[in-house]
Amino acid sequence: MTTEETPLEDNVEPEVQEAPEAPEAPETPETQKRVGPVGSALVIGSGLAGMQTALDMADTDILVHVVEDKPGIGGWMSMLDKTFPTNDCAMCTLAPKLVAVGRHPNIVLHTNARVTALEGEAGEFTARIVERPRFIDADKCTGCGFCGQYCPVEAISNYDVAMGERTAVSVLFPQTVPLLYSIDRESCIGCGLCEEVCPAHAVDYMQEPVTPEVDVGAVILAAGFAEVPGDCRPEYGWGRVPNVITAPQFERVLSASGPYGGEVLRASDGTHPKKIAWLQCVGSRDPHHGRPYCSSVCCTYATKEAIIAKEHLGREDVDCHIFFMDMRTYGKAFEEYYNRAKDEYKVKYTRCRIGEVREDPATRDLIILYEDEAGNTRTETFDMVVLSTGLEPPENSTELAETFGIELDEMGYAKTGVFSPVDTTRKGVYVCGALEGPKDIPDTVAQASAAAARAEAIIAPSRGTETTPIELPEERDVTVEEPKIGVFVCHCGINIGSVVDVPDVVEYAKNLPNVVYAEHNLYTCSQDTQDKIKEKVAELGLNRVVVASCTPRTHEPLFQDTISEAALNPHLFDLASLREHVSWVHQGDHAAATRKAKRLVAMSVDKVRHSIPVHKEPSAVEPTGLVLGGGPAGIAAALGLAEQGLRAYLVERQDKLGGNLHRLPHLMEDEDPKEALEQMVSRVEASENIEVLLSSELVELGGVIGNFDATIRTPQGDQTFHVGAIIVATGAFELEPKGEYMFGEDDRVMTAIQAGEALDRGDFPMDGPVAFVHCVGSRIPEREYCSRVSCSTAVKNAIHTKERSPETDVIMSHRDLRTYGYRELADRRARERGIQFVRVDNEGPAVRTKDGKDLMMEWVDMIGQKRVRRKIATVVLAAATLPYGDSPDLGSILKVPLTEHGFFLEAHMKIRPLDFATDGVFLAGSCHSPKFLNEAIAQAIGAASRAATILSNPTVVPEGLPSYVDSARCTGCGTCEENCAYAAITVDEEKGVASVNTVLCKGCGTCAAVCPSGAAVSPKFEKDQIINMIEDALLPARGGT
């Protein structure tokens, strides 16, 4: 573009591009011997796990090489439409991570690449990477997509799980990073069209592989999983019958970027299905086909797909029916989600065994043959069938294991231990995500952070040796310029676009005062839009930016980083929430939703018009962590910090470390918990970095991220400690269900923990039938959640009982047997040993005594549909896991929220399971939700990694924008001083003027609200801004719309 064509009203001199001076040749490093480990790490895989682990490490000044087999990063999650149990749009939560990885100065991406060899040892590995040619020069490609438009080839898209098409030259998906095209030589016909049309001359058919070698201190394997093929059960017809598809295919059907643009259609005739069935456990819990384990995620994802199908097609217009064996909605808020699916969305659930699926050749409808719980054979006809296919190790896992020298378990996943959940069998090589076993997104994120912490334990001494400091362009001074606002309105796939008329909002925005540019995007948060925003800022001289998309709580930092890169102060930005506050909550009234969207955009535009640059001063970080709770999670978190050379205070209420682990004499796995606990405690005692405070608890907290002042009540009195970050790992406890099932009245009725202890002592009564009663105090109206561990704990104790006394009758009375993952194998073992499984109704069994002597148990057997009464010698209650009753008090001290059940509520259930919304405070273990030891420990080590992203840096910028006082207006009345909760404002009596201590100020804005002379100002929430926004909010009242 020449200067004459510049569309700016006032001519801005285009910057003269000077030829960059040749960089000075770096001085050849003398043959210096490296002291300590290499300050970089290698990550294999770039799905959510790979991205999270890379980001955690990169944020602590470690250089991270990410190697991805595919031409772009993003993994499975990018293919999903929504995620359970919040129905958050997967791309929306993922895109900020994609962008963060793509732009992080400490992350080097090697896409289209594999590692062929790893030599050396922990601290000093050398990895050989082969980057396959893309036949497109990465330095020249701009991702414009011309090549794809002209490519005549129609190949099958793996991204759309074989449902859509792609060209031979293509990009993995439009939001991927790096946004570079590549030519798939297998489908390329060599016509040369792409080379001709490419404006950047980036096509290079002769490109050769590149084989860089990188030195790294540690390796993290995050290679993910593969989907079990749909034809693993040929009797279900997948591959033969068009209207039978797999769950990943259905995700693409639901997705706005999928083959049907988000419209739910059946493949055979493109009509809207009126009846859809999901068949569970396809390729899971299936020893006959080599996959005996449970894939852990399918029950909840099928529930999600059914709910979303109803949202797409209309709740009344489609019948969604899930055929299952046990409903395993065991995770945080999953059970509530399942209940909502049943009660609100009217999703039908049928417990059964599926025989086969037949196609009616005339209608192409599908007839499902199944056997219901009572043993009757039934048939039902559907328009569409979705197979809930399970997870299996990635295709190349054996090769991966050989290359990296690690052992796999018998199922083909990376071998780990309960107490070392991310350590492989090779020192310095760690694993996270589904390569370690099937798991959901939050568990994956927890492990990803944990793996980062383990790698950092090796690399920490060399932090900063391989990285170069981040350099942002110098901020443009815009204070003298007229506001020039750019507005970017997001369709959010179809999340916003299906309710709000986005193009109409864009047209409206164009006419708002000072708006010089407006456009709409499929996903405003994707990398290509970030580039677009920067481009427009530069091209049009924008000095304010408004994005209208989702909630500022999650996405504002992303866009602020973007405009910072475009030389704008990050506070010259505002986000209008058109999703959480419009399209999701006004689904039924598109006109009103569009009207509201316009008002919100007008308010944001008005807000940024009056925005001024704000500069926040970084403050020094106290490199010490505070860990609350000395159970296994707390210990693991403290060790995770200490191993990186960071100091930690470990605070425990009891007079010894160990928590519930003291009462857990054996595990389902082979490891010995007593020995493990002893080892953990002795490592704590041996560590110079950990100070243990027993019989102590937090009573007061002041300060902010990087600089908290925590007052701990110790037996020696109250002491205040200065810490930079806090990890909450206060645990949970087992319910003692007094008054239920004769618990507390009869010694023969005990809880699972009591039974485990009795089995360990050898005095567990096994001289008559032993009954295990599930869901005691869980999954009931008053306590809706599932306690996650109780089914497996019951199975474990039952097996122990049977092993010690094979002739004892053992009865397992359950509602759904939730032995997810590998715990399914124990379930099978239990059945093989003759443990009798009876499925009971939601009421559960009744336990009473007969003549004050014999214990009698009575239940409704759902399988035989009959009432059963039996004499029982011992009853073991699988009692609920409860949060501590004083959690709300701790929540108040820490200013962090709780769930309705009293567990702590994290910043984001899916992708920020270890963070609180309050900066610098993290959580781990059962205080988050009930969980197993390996999961709690992974979370705890992960929380240490999250805390290390703060503690390992010399400075931090605190949350909140400090207020300031306009001394010209201030009368020194002292009202602000009186009202400030942090004593951050003081009036200089001599000068008669107030001033703000920016270190103490948290930016609540109270001073501005009470100031009678308008001198106290809360940046970004200035009085003029809010007043204007109020006018905009009510605008139609005067003009009428």
């Binding site: 919040t86 129905n87 958050d88 949202e311 909630t551 500022p552 709580r553 929430s577 999703r579 959480e580 506050h581 419009v582 999701w584 909550v585 006004h586 689904q587 039924g588 009234d589 009103a592 939703a593 009207r595 509201k596 008002r599 919100l600 308010m603 929540g891 108040s892 200013k895 929220p897 709780l898 769930t899 309705e900 509520l905 919304a917 309050t918 909140g960 009202n979 909760a981 942090y982 948290k1002 930016g1003 609540c1004 804005g1005 109270t1006 501005a1008 609200a1009 009470v1010 809360s1018 929430f1021 009085k1023 809010i1026 007043i1027 926004m1029 109020i1030 006018e1031 909010a1033 009510l1034 009242a1037 005067r1038």
Partner: protein, 161 residues
């Protein structure tokens, strides 16, 4: 509640001037929601797809304690039929005690409203935590119902003050 929506119920305050609502009238609400609890709860209502009136317009503020009296009056003068302030539960304020300040301020403004003949029910303060999406949606809907009973804000037509 069913008949009340017709707006014919006799009002008990001077605010009765707002009684004869136009047929397609829907109460307009400006909501000041604190960043840490109520706005988060409102976000969660979105995630949970809880539906409420599209005439509710949220304004995110850092703390309920930062809601200036001027904002409330401005909204009412500009013709909002109701003003909702959402804060953290007492004792849970992210900024220690901002919500106590909000509570006191709201009480004062209600007195002022009464003094000028505006029904104080047009100003509503509610504690909504980050996890209370249901409470958020219900609060908006109940407030909407109350405002339907009260009819349009008389200031909306005449801008008396």
């Amino acid at each position: 509640m069913a008949d009340s929506s017709k707006g014919k119920k006799k009002k008990t305050t001077d605010d009765a001037t707002g009684g004869d609502a136009p047929k397609d009238w829907n109460p307009r609400i400006v909501g000041f929601l604190c960043n840490w609890c109520s706005y988060t709860g409102a976000d969660l209502a979105g995630v949970s797809r809880l539906q409420y009136t599209p005439e509710f317009i949220p304004i995110r503020v850092m703390c309920s304690g930062s809601v200036d009296v001027a904002y409330i009056l401005k909204a009412l003068l500009e013709g909002a039929d109701g003003v909702l302030i959402g804060g953290c539960h007492l004792g849970d304020c992210h900024y220690l005690n901002g919500n106590y300040k909000a509570r006191r301020r709201v009480a004062v403004v209600k007195e002022v409203m009464e003094g000028v003949g505006l029904d104080p029910r047009r100003l509503h303060l509610e504690w909504i935590s980050a996890s209370e999406s249901g409470k958020f949606a219900k609060t908006v809907s109940t407030f909407d119902e109350t405002l339907r009973q009260l009819g349009p804000n008389p200031l909306a037509k005449e801008r008396l003050l």
